[in-house]
């Protein structure tokens, strides 16, 4: 529940989204408190990525409300929506780096447009962000010259460029080796502890989610099946949750 001393950064009410006859989300309610990290779990194709895109206005819901830091975004025009977007960092599932720009220019891209930093300061900031994800040595490379996992790390650096209050991460650890995945998990925890960033992380990495999230959310067929801590998840009687945990080796 929302408390006055800890307001919710992300609130959705009765959110619904369909593509043709396929219902992706239906009656979806979510509250993420400021500074909280929530992991969203579920099978592929259950609307997790769509949820993130709805939260940043890349797609419009069929019904329901979305509030980001108390502001309703479903009815906003492009300009005020862009002001909200500046407060939100977004990591795409495949990184979505601009392939005509170098790694460093990718991170500088939002800085160049939304800050008054000098070219030198932008460069330093980009290098600092790349260092935090272990990619500073590859700053001059093009995205096509680095691996998928590296692209994802650069994507995280780009998502953090504007010091966002909220970060939305779509499978940040998928396709990474266990060591890098753990490092990314630590980075997410670090963000939460140091900057009090609110994070919503879509993931299949149950172990990672256990480490970096305060709360877990399990989606199935467009609805929230489970909401709570990791210990509660393990004691859930829901057959889908039991099967999910068993198949993930945590049952």
């Amino acid at each position: 529940m929302q408390q006055d001393n800890n307001p919710s950064d992300i609130v959705t009410e009765n959110l619904a989204k369909s593509f043709g006859t396929q219902k992706v989300l239906s009656g979806f309610n979510l509250k993420v408190a400021r500074g909280e990290t929530v992991a969203v779990l579920g099978r592929s194709g259950t609307g997790k990525s769509v949820l993130l895109k709805l939260l940043i206005g890349l797609q419009r819901p069929d019904a329901g409300c979305i509030q980001i830091q108390g502001q309703e975004i479903t009815t906003l025009d492009a300009k005020p929506l862009n002001e909200i977007r500046k407060k939100v960092g977004f990591l795409f599932q495949q990184g979505a780096l601009y392939d005509s720009l170098t790694v460093e220019e990718n991170v500088e891209f939002p800085l160049r447009r939304h800050t008054t930093l000098s070219a030198e300061e932008q460069k330093n900031r980009a290098r600092e962000l790349l260092r935090s994800v272990g990619m500073d040595r590859d700053a001059e490379k093009m995205p096509s010259q680095i691996s998928g996992g590296m692209q994802k790390r650069v994507g995280i650096a780009r998502a953090l460029a504007l010091d966002p209050a909220i970060v939305l991460l779509d499978e940040p650890t998928a396709g990474l080796d266990p060591i890098t995945a753990a490092e990314i998990g630590e980075l997410i925890s670090h963000l939460q502890q140091k900057h009090k960033t609110t994070s919503l992380v879509v993931t299949h990495d149950l172990l990672g989610a256990k480490r970096f999230s305060n709360r877990l959310l399990m989606l199935d067929q467009g609805k929230v099946l489970f909401e709570g801590g990791f210990a509660d998840l393990q004691h859930s009687k829901d057959p889908f949750v039991i099967r999910y945990l068993k198949d993930a080796g945590e049952g």
Partner: protein, 285 residues
């Protein structure tokens, strides 16, 4: 008119009879025609919305000057060799083919004028437009299309940067600005190589060739045909970006966008040429 009425009656009768004999097959034909017609109207509707959205952002700050210059280089400078070559080839062909015809009519002295007028008024602009539509239309369609399917356009929007301003407006403006300049290059190369081709058979100084060729030519013969290519640039830029932005379905979709960007921009360019030539005749008789 009675012919058309009879034809319509015959087609309606064939459909009516076909409906009785082959109801399923005719249903497929009907639905294909219906979806085809709907698709054309939907395409024009989407294009109008696209242009409206583009017009709203193109002339409002912040300006994407660096990207505009980058695109002008990519569309202009890098198309120059191809356009110059095509212009030169046109000049040579015109010289080779019209020489004999003009000689037959005893009008060989008119050769420089025929080459200069036909290149400046029509061949230069159209050849430039078609070459740019092939090279740049394909490039823009493929680039924006692949950015769309790899979520780079979404990433741009998520970074609070309008892709219509950053990607589309810069490319369309660069096409509009570069087409007349490329046309001038094609005209120059065409006339020059027309002279080279001519002078190999019948030596004539370049100055005399040019003076004879441009004798009687007014600014109204030169400026409107050159500046009509801004419309070609607008068509190439808009169609290529539009096809790129509506790409769906992975790499196969990118391929389709690229092809349709070239085919549609070339087609609309030729259709626009018909209208523009008529308009120029009306306003500069």
């Amino acid at each position: 008119m009675p012919i058309y009425a009879s034809l319509a009656l015959v087609i309606a009768s064939v459909f009516a009879a076909g409906r009785e004999i082959y109801p399923q097959q005719l249903g497929v034909v009907e639905s294909t025609i219906r979806s085809g017609v709907t698709g054309v109207f939907a395409w024009f509707g989407e294009l109008a919305l696209f242009c409206w959205r583009l017009a709203r952002v193109a002339f409002a700050p912040p300006w994407e000057g660096a990207e505009l210059i980058r695109q002008m280089d990519s569309i202009g400078s890098k198309s120059l060799p191809l356009v110059a070559l095509a212009g030169a080839a046109t000049g040579i062909v015109l010289s080779l083919q019209t020489r004999d015809t003009l000689t037959q009519f005893g009008a060989r002295s008119m050769l420089p004028a025929v080459i200069v007028f036909s290149i400046v008024k029509e061949s230069g602009p159209v050849i430039t437009g078609l070459i740019v539509s092939g090279r740049v239309g394909a490039g823009i369609g493929a680039e924006i299309g692949s950015m769309k399917v790899t979520e780079q356009i979404d990433a741009m929007e998520a970074s609070a940067v309008d892709p219509y301003k950053y990607l589309v407006a810069t490319r369309v403006l660069a096409c509009i600005a570069m087409l007349p300049l490329l046309t001038l290059a094609a005209d120059f190369c065409g006339i020059f190589m027309g002279w080279v081709s001519n002078t190999l058979v019948q030596p004539i100084s370049l100055r005399l060739f040019f003076e004879t060729g441009t004798k009687g030519m007014e600014f109204s013969d030169f400026l409107p045909p050159t500046f009509k290519t801004t419309v070609y640039g607008l068509i190439i830029g808009i169609i290529a970006c539009f096809q790129g932005m509506r790409t769906e379905g992975g790499t196969e979709g990118v391929g389709k966008s690229t092809t349709s960007a070239v085919v549609l921009s070339s087609l609309f360019l030729i259709l626009a040429d018909v209208v523009l030539v008529r308009l120029i005749q009306v306003f500069y008789p």
